[in-house]
Symmetry: C2
Subunit: 248 residues, 2 copies
DNA sequence: AAACTTAGTGTAAAAATTACACTTTGAAAA
DNA sequence: TTTTCAAAGTGTAATTTTTACACTAAGTTT
């Protein structure tokens, strides 16, 4: 168990965030263009998840929150840890090695990253004129290609955890405005879960949970019958439906 | 996102394992007495989860496997990551600080740990005459008291993940001998899930899954009708019951 | 006024879940 | 050898949950 005389060099530890948003039709992921730390001129066209090294005295969740704050200006973002990624072979793609070289990092250097996923209401997100706004891009989940480092692995775990959690906890609201139509909610579930949800059954089931409250507001500016807007009551979830919540 | 000129000192990274076993009645956890790295004489009576710092070039899972191998002599143990624990305040209990002092570690030093949980067949476990066998103890889950460091937090996450996974994947078999009675399996589920499972319904449901195969063996040495033994067929789970598996 | 588009609604059949008690079998005791 | 003991093994009916499915209502545009 103890490993007596081997020399252990401490790895760098970073956080990387999979930020999900929903535009009404597609599940989107926030990506950034890779840049060089202390060498900001260097840049390849590789997309990566937003992330950063953790600071001393910083909680892991705090580090993830900080990354999100820098990126969006938002605090109190829904955030969930999905695990640690630490294979020494994380950085093996030629482009990754070129990047390491450009930023003068030792390719042998070990980086462990803690993955998070976050849900944000895409409308609340404002490009930050400071920071890295100009390099930030929303990309449809289906169209995310190859990312740098091992970020596709992190994304895989993130979508898996998202589906898992969406199935069992009322977290979908994090992706929507505070007042939303049942159609918006339906589209969100149907999209994330991969389709096949019955519209009528979904509606009944959602309303039966008791944690949606109807408002007196209606959709505006649509060329057809406007839908009633609802709002989510977290307390009702906590109390009433003691974990019987389930969706498809 | 980038944090320009702050000095970042790399934390130590360790793995800690919650090793579960089942003795037929209780869910057990494997604990070790804390000792001092490079100072093996120092020891307090505090129990902790088995763990170690990761080596260079070692995958996180490899590190966890190594810890388990050192402890049990077993390879190919069921192992599941449960996440990273990295609050800078992890080491705040007086005893923990005394320990850090005794082993000459800087109390400011940052340690991030990756938690795992493992399932082993308690009968296969042999105390290793080398290593730390004399300090190893199986403790009933209900009777684990206060552990050192933040290991109670890790244990909480582990039991939560175990229940979650047991509910959805056929992992209970990892805790049993390869041939087992339905009663053993029932006790295991009932114990881990916190009781209340109907014996007859459980039996029917389990057999209906199709991934239990009956053998021609029977329980021996019991003072009553001996139960038939079954065995688990992983392939049947993979193919047939495409994720429809669910228990209580 | 007609056409278009999405909102909004109910029911019946099938499947899954739950609750529940007696008979069988082998070993041990009388 | 008979009785007793302890756990093994078995089935059904009621309830609940899930699924499949199509038409009317309402507001906007043409």
């Amino acid at each position: 168990m103890v490993q007596k005389n081997s020399i252990i060099s401490n790895p760098n530890v970073s956080v990387d965030c999979v930020v999900f948003g929903f535009d009404g039709a597609d599940l989107k992921v926030l990506l950034v263009e890779r840049y060089g730390r202390d060498n900001l001129d260097f840049q390849d066209d590789t997309l990566v998840l937003p992330g950063d090294l953790i600071n001393n005295h910083e909680d892991l969740n705090e580090a993830a929150s900080r990354v999100l704050y820098d990126l969006t200006g938002l605090t109190k973002i829904f955030l969930q840890q999905i695990g640690a990624f630490g294979s020494p072979k994380r950085l093996s793609k030629p482009k990754d090695i070129a990047w390491l070289d450009a930023v003068r990092m030792n390719p042998e250097a070990r980086v462990i990253t803690i993955g998070y996923y976050a849900l944000i209401n895409i409308k609340n997100y404002k490009v930050r004129p400071s920071s890295f706004a100009k390099h930030v891009v929303w990309r449809a989940y289906d169209e995310v290609g190859e990312l740098g480092f091992d970020h596709n692995d992190i994304l895989d775990r993130a979508i898996h955890n998202l589906r898992d959690q969406l199935y069992r906890e009322p977290i979908g609201f994090e992706l929507l405005p505070s007042h939303f139509s049942l159609h918006q909610l339906y589209s969100l579930y149907n999209e994330i879960m991969g389709g096949g949800i019955d519209r009528r059954n979904f509606r009944r089931r959602m309303l039966k949970t008791g944690f949606l409250k109807e408002t007196e507001e209606y959709q505006e500016g649509v060329p057809h019958k406007p839908a009633r807007l609802y709002t989510f009551i977290p307390e009702e979830f906590e109390n009433a439906s003691k974990n019987n919540f389930k969706f498809y």
